[in-house]
Amino acid sequence: MPKIQIPSPLRQYSGKQASVDVAGKTVGEALAGLVLQHPDLKRHLYADDGKLRAFVNVYVNDEDMRYLQKEATTLKDGDTISIVPSIAGGCEPEIEGAVHDALIIQGCYGHADRR
């Protein structure tokens, strides 16, 4: 069964698990299985149109799936899928201003009605 490595920024949405075993013949199926098991991950990995978000990189073993067959890339037993998000830290000063907050709301609660 392929294993999906969850990076620490996203572990709060995967029940704190560092890796999740999922069934799936392709990367797309495995990722669909992952968000089925952990629905909170969905909005972090997929945009509203159902496509993987542009800043989420998915690797099969050490290869970027963009240079394989993307989500149609077939998986073998023992393959490891890694989700590699961008992290910026060198370590960041806390930004919790009102402006930032509303953006976070939009990010986290994409349907927030801003009026």
Binding site: P9, D40, G90, V99, D101, Y109
Partner: protein, 405 residues
Amino acid sequence: MATLTDVKSSEAKSPEANSPGPQSAPVLSNDEILRYSRHLIMPEVGMEGQQKLKAAKVLCIGAGGLGSPLALYLAAAGVGTLGIVDFDVVDYTNLQRQIIHTTADVGRKKLDSAAEKLKAINPFLSLRTFDTKLTSANALELFRQFDIVADGTDNFPTRYLVNDACVLTGKPNVYGSIFRFEGQASVFATKDGPCYRCLYPEPPPPGLVPSCAEGGVLGILPGLVGVIQATETIKLILGQGDSLVGRLLLVDALGMKFRELKLRKNPECPICGTHRTITALIDYEQFCGIRGQEEPVTGGNLSEISVEELKKKLDAKADIFILDVREPHEYQICNLNGYLIPLGDLPKRVAELDSSREIVAHCKLGGRSAKAVAFLKQAGFTKVHNLTGGITAWAERIDPKMPKY
């Protein structure tokens, strides 16, 4: 040499300030030969390599978590010219990981504190300090004065700015980044190698990836990653070994695992691909969505309450339900006796709240609780307020005995 109009550059001359021409290898004094003897006896470095180090000019962006070990080791190793860009002041919470600064430096400019340590380690170092924020207006001119740029910054706009400026000036970008127990390192923007945009064409929207300040970081991790950056910088200067060009090194300190992923130059990369659409520096804060969407916020209907007002209401025994949306480990540090529901759990635990009562939500600084208030209002709560400035404001203005973190 180009001069920076809006940048204060102070140049500390080394004792051997006989500034050799760009072509001629600088000569090492007897003191330097002794100092670098453990390099000189290695065939991979030797006299030639040490002279390359002395001739090299490296620019460190930031004198923080990554910049501390990076600058200390580069200075010790004999890199001739080190530039540092930073406009920040040493804060008490920096000391857990920013090892170039000491307790006595709290309140000092990071540049002054760093300069003192670096010159103490190696008086032969020529140090150039730039007391400024790196911006689209100054980056190109600054980068042109150096050979290699080491990125120790802490935010996405600066990451993209450093990358783009490196690509446009043709300077390698020695990259390191950290979060909690994990780090990433690579070398971007070399002549034939991929750049940061090849890997991440777009930044995440603000807030989707928690910052270090929200997520924390293990104090030794910037040490581990910053030293990897220093190693890569020195290898680039020496022209030795296999650099991280085309590889992303992932460091997992908790599992103590180092993995690497293949990176490729993306032919469609907007700045280093075949059809380039970015040919000059842009507005990176706008690109990362940090500006330009202020309208809905200032016009937003978040109802705020100050810590003074809350104190008054509590003293008057008003019926106030305090909702703490921080994490349990933060609650252990200090709390207002509030009811704890971490922000991430709020959607599924909203039924625990009574919408008929007046609710004051708070977090550490007011950011997460503003999200909670917006969420609750959407869920039909009407009497819900955000505590402005969070429990930190309470500790500062109401209860000075309460710890701040």
